[in-house]
């Protein structure tokens, strides 16, 4: 719930299974924990996941977090169309919407006062040298405009959340994070 005293950011990251949604969420949570914030991370689970969509909810705060389930997000990171229609109406007034403009042409009907940024995540990922890291681009974009953390902090946490055998992807992922942030910051 939104609160008067300090940070209480409720983020939903959503997209297809396979887009790295879960990893993006865990990375955000891990970076926040390292930064000394209170944090919760809640994935969609079980049969919900069957059928190809995935989402996760991350709450960042500087006081105890009530419930990890986000009913009215303050920020949305949306990687496909289906997720947009599901979550956009729930955004809090004054919230932030980051969407993947490589897959979503247009965004209709968001609540009042929501800031909307379209990120051509696929193109940026390709530019960053790693077409698979759209998730990092999107997360980077969020951190570039809104997050209480920087893209660098997220990049520093990559080693904690990636399995050993994927550590070779850290540089590319870091780059994707950086470029995402850069893009968003310059498109507010």
């Amino acid at each position: 719930m939104a609160s008067t005293n300090g940070l209480y950011e409720e983020i939903v990251i959503a997209g297809f299974g396979g887009q790295g949604i879960i990893l993006a969420g865990k990375l955000l949570a891990q970076a926040a924990m390292k930064a000394g914030l209170e944090v919760t991370y809640m994935p969609s689970y079980g049969a919900e996941v069957r059928g190809g969509t995935a989402n996760c909810m991350v709450i960042l705060s500087n006081r105890p977090i009530a419930c990890p389930i986000v009913s009215a997000p303050t920020a949305l990171v949306i990687c496909n169309k289906a997720s947009l229609s599901k979550f956009a109406p729930r955004l809090r007034p004054g919230g932030q919407l980051i969407f993947n403009s490589s897959l979503i042409e247009e965004v209709h009907s968001v609540p009042d006062g929501v800031q909307v940024i379209g990120v051509p995540a696929e193109e940026i990922a390709i530019q960053a040298g790693s077409p698979k890291s759209t998730n990092m681009v999107m997360l980077g974009a969020y951190l570039g405009v809104r997050g209480p953390l920087t893209a660098q902090q997220a990049a520093a946490a990559l080693a904690d959340v990636l399995a050993e055998r994927h550590h070779k992807t850290i540089p590319a992922n870091s780059e994707a994070l950086r470029r995402g942030a850069e893009f968003a910051a310059s498109h507010v």
Partner: protein, 92 residues
């Protein structure tokens, strides 16, 4: 013996099984994803013979197959006794 298939691409999950079984290689996976984010199967202009292999293997049951000649394919799998259960034939 020319055939024709219709794939309901919006419901396709892009599993590719139809592609693999098509003896004429006349199905491919599209480069465009559908609204569910899957890259669906797509018929090519190849010479479909209407053998229905793709339709038989498709887990989504979304391929319709037509063929020049009316014909019934009989699978004679278990016709030992004579009863309702042994009339094994595919619906034409």
């Amino acid at each position: 013996m020319a055939g024709k298939i219709v794939i309901d691409t919006e419901r396709c999950k892009g599993c590719g099984l139809c592609v693999v079984v098509c003896p004429k290689k006349s199905i491919v996976i599209s480069k465009e994803s559908n609204k569910n984010g899957y890259f669906p199967a797509q018929k090519t202009d190849g010479d479909c013979i209407g053998c229905a292999q793709c339709a038989i293997i498709c887990p989504e049951g979304i391929i319709q197959v037509c063929r020049d000649q009316m014909e019934r394919i009989r699978i004679v799998a278990a016709p030992e006794k004579h009863s309702a259960s042994h009339l094994i034939e595919e619906k034409a």
